[in-house]
Amino acid sequence: MKQVHTNSKSQEGKATTVRKTFSRETSVQTTVMADPSIVWALLTRASDIPRWNSTVTSIKGEIREGNTIELKSILDEKRTFKLKVKEFVPEKRLVWGDSQGSRVYSIEKGAGGGVLFSMTEKIGGPIFPLFAKYIPPFDESFERFAADLKKEAESIQNSKS
């Protein structure tokens, strides 16, 4: 089975993609020096996401387990992704996706009072090879997402009391 790594090392804020014949998985992780509740609030208050996240142009619906949200991304602004929220564990884990794949956000306690944020999206299936070439790479938008989240969460954490 063919397997290609576009980035072999998992560096802070750098995306990694693993390509296989029937799937593709992109991940990014970054340390955020902020309270997990701030990171979680930023990830789950849908109407506020386009303000701080330069990769999302619009998002409709409430991010709650079982709900379906409609998301437009810079990857393909003409397309609306209808995504079902599959897991919603406050301040720990959020998963949404459709029939082609799932995106997993996770928040773990990191060293020095911060959190380790990671985001992974796996797409694939039996007919994946037929449409794989039409799906743009996620690496750049993942890196932007992680950088935007880190910047916004740390700015809130460090705001005046």
Partner: protein
Amino acid sequence: MTTDQLTAEFETFQGELKSFILRMTASVQDAEDILQDTYLKAQSKIDTFRGESSLKTWIFSIASNLARDLLRSKKRWPETVTDICREEALHNRQFFQEAMHIRETSPQGKFEIKEHIAFCFTCVSKSLPLEQHLALLLKEVYGFKVTEIAQIMNQTEAMVKYYLHVSRSRMIDIFDHRCSLINKQGICHQCTELNGIFNPKQKAQEELVKIEMARDAENKSKEELFDLRMKILQELDPFESGAAELQLHHLEHNRRVMEKYLEEN
């Protein structure tokens, strides 16, 4: 603490408390009711006050909870509230007749642009989610610290910081797009428009020069302009100002229009 001590201290900030509730609810009746209920509840629970916060923080916490209980089930207003209400007012002859009567006969019937700026904020800020609205008013208008707001809202300091950051960013963005006083491309001119109706002999430009936010609009950042807008609210008591009766009449109009609008939409 005795009831007499509670009453004496309550009186020192009840004006602030009443204006805070008005700015949360946009209703004079609700502000009066919640103010009274807050006092009664404080009186009945005074034995539980341990002095872990100031009495003022504790009382604001009671009032905030009562306001939240009232508002939780109600829809938030749209950020275009002033446009929607303006359209309704234009077709409401009685509204203008009453307003003109107040203007001509009441000692609190003056129209001042800065009073309308505060009124406008009260309406537009009701488009924020409830928790964000509450945190923003407590910090930016009533000067509470994040730790005190966390106590009032029964939230962590981190979440209060989140609410403050997001609500402030949202309001700055709304006013930057809408308010012609701070942005020449702003689509709302309602304060100068109303000034022309209520003060026909006055030149709006001369009035605007007196308002720091409008005078310095081109030289200040959006953040600084928002701070100047908050300064206007901090300095105005919506129940005691020279324009109070006129502005409260207008607020009551907008509240009714919004209730009808939200029922239909």
